[in-house]
Symmetry: C2
Amino acid sequence: MSTEKIPYKIYLEEQEMPKAWYNLRADMKNKPAPLLNPGTHQPMKAEELAGVFCDELIRQELDDTTAYFDIPEDIRNFYKMYRPSPLVRAYCLEEKLGTPAKIYYKFEGNNTSGSHKLNSAIAQAYYAKKQGLKGVTTETGAGQWGTALSMACSYFGLDCKVYMVKCSYEQKPFRREVMRTYGASVTPSPSMETEVGRKILAEHPGTTGSLGCAISEAVEKALHSEGYRYVLGSVLNQVLLHQSVIGLESKIAMDKYGIKPDIIIGCAGGGSNLGGLIAPFMGEQLRGEADYRFIAVEPASCPSFTRGVFAYDFCDTGMVCPLAKMYTLGSGFIPSANHAGGLRYHGMSSVLSQLYADGQMEAVSVKQTEVFEAAEYFARVEGILPAPESSHAIRVAIDEALRCKETGEGKTILFGLTGTGYFDMVAYEKFHDGVMSDYIPTDEELEKARIGLPKID
Amino acid sequence: MSTEKIPYKIYLEEQEMPKAWYNLRADMKNKPAPLLNPGTHQPMKAEELAGVFCDELIRQELDDTTAYFDIPEDIRNFYKMYRPSPLVRAYCLEEKLGTPAKIYYKFEGNNTSGSHKLNSAIAQAYYAKKQGLKGVTTETGAGQWGTALSMACSYFGLDCKVYMVKCSYEQKPFRREVMRTYGASVTPSPSMETEVGRKILAEHPGTTGSLGCAISEAVEKALHSEGYRYVLGSVLNQVLLHQSVIGLESKIAMDKYGIKPDIIIGCAGGGSNLGGLIAPFMGEQLRGEADYRFIAVEPASCPSFTRGVFAYDFCDTGMVCPLAKMYTLGSGFIPSANHAGGLRYHGMSSVLSQLYADGQMEAVSVKQTEVFEAAEYFARVEGILPAPESSHAIRVAIDEALRCKETGEGKTILFGLTGTGYFDMVAYEKFHDGVMSDYIPTDEELEKARIGLPKID
């Protein structure tokens, strides 16, 4: 344990950066349930997935026993352009709150995609290129994943076709332009370009779209385009694997200074950030080497963990994808148009769902205006304008720190600051103008959204 | 000299960060000419400036002999939140260009203001607070300075009133919202709020504004508001002093690895970044300890160095400020509305003007579309979407690296990457859509703009 004063920001040296991703599933006794074929309800085989995903990514997706996957050198070199990301000690926030808690955050926003999404985008683009593909299709909600993938594809010379959830497309006009800078094409979803898009538009003409719907379009496009595969920025096991770099770097940095977190907090949409941040810590806990309090934070307007059911469901609105067992609100669930930013997915990573079902972590939901209050507070004190998604974690980190102030406990809190809010100023404007609402789905609405859940024996 | 492989990014340790700013004027044999009282044409005295500027900043402004000014601890702590900024080795750019040149850039964009401007903003806000003031007024062009000052004022609990050049206000709607997040009020300039604004609007009803005009409004507002002073983000000696932190950090990082730049390149609007970046290197050159090639890069649409005259001029359109001796296009000069981003100022730092007049550095002007070509190229290769201002330096760095490719020389190039372009997507969009023009002022237009130059004996 180091006795040095802990600096404001801990940057690992290049040679300290992780050389392998950690596969949390290897340490899970209750493995996440397998993907099922939507027709036969049998576990999906690699060859059935090969039309949709890249071969190497399928291998990563299905492997729940190998603990470490080497990070290829090309990806490690790309990581060196924008990583290591800093582990920040929030001295100013602690002082402003007057809390005895020690607050740390892993800041993933210092790259042009504005978030952690680039960690998996570059990996997925790499494997697509290695397989000799022409390009990839994807969906994007808040736009961070689409931007990240555009950057990654541009780097490897791959074509990139993005279906962007319509309300984000309209709320974030400049995201499209960033993706265009990186040579991607961007289509608001639902669109008239795909069969599933046309069907959804016919049934719900005024829809502002959803991630589930954009996924269906991107998958359909990949299946019907020679030399293309579909890639996804969250939910999947492979994505959590790549995102483990967040947690691994955090743990190396903390170990270096002898810091042990008591509470680890991450926002949860599909689970890519949370799953990546907690991975090595949860691994320790599963192996009985340590005990942490993990908190998943989700929006009250899209509360998969806290108000969903743990069941097999479709991953997309069009029901073209395999079935996954997860906490879900039903694949037809579409959050209120008033909901800003990402974390709009109806389901949740199977890995995290299993851990939550096993009592290995907690989940809370927070209201939108509380989230933006925390965001503005944090921006003023710590000098970083956070993404709405990240601000869910900030909200709960502040709440926990204030609880420490009441009890006098000097707990160590680590949270994931996934990205910046530079493209979310329309949402900030609504907040400033007092026109942001806290719409929360009613029990009746949630019940209705669950009607379409598939029946699995 | 270290024999380690040079990493992609060099971050100084906290204890290696500069503890004092370097005042380049102390090493200049030909000192920059003093500010003159516009009425008497006599050098401005501290007491004459006291109504406009903070006392401590006046002391820094007028002192051309003290080589180092200690950085107060509060400012050093704030610096630790977003500094040190990385010195990046552009391995990917070098490889893509196929150049034997070694390219480094000092990246100042990893903070919410999106640029180096925060380095001086926090210093100026600190001294205003220390003096017990209520608030400050300022102007902003591209919006980076206004954002930086908003952040700094929010940190110290000062009121912040920003006059934003109208065309930027309209091109960058979300910049206003960021400033609002930090509690600042933002007014498009020219406005009806000030006498000088009303006068300019009456004379030029359709004007898109200029920095010179926004400065006049901000100064007038400060003079007429109890407990307020005016602060400026560039041009002034004090600003170059604060910005020396850029060059000092760069030099410490380079010395650590035994790197000696041959060419140092910076974009130049008012000179804050260029003056800060080159400061310690130019100091060595002036003391005869080293020899560098310094290149100032300015937009062809606002070419103060390359087509201006070296003369006393007004710093603002309304002629309420002191006279400064500088390379100037005339205080009435307003760049074409088509010109994107900052670097719109009619004049140039007196320090840099004197150095240029003495042959200590070179200057080149570049056209806007060439700048955006370099910006997009850089974004794709190095993964950072640069600000239009910064991209002027990228353009010339790439040109110099390509020259090395022709000659086979492995020169070491250092350039300043002042910030990110996340709020400049309207300009990028114009570039992508092919509707960005390269308007360059004619000789007649420049001659006309010089008519108002004051006659000084």
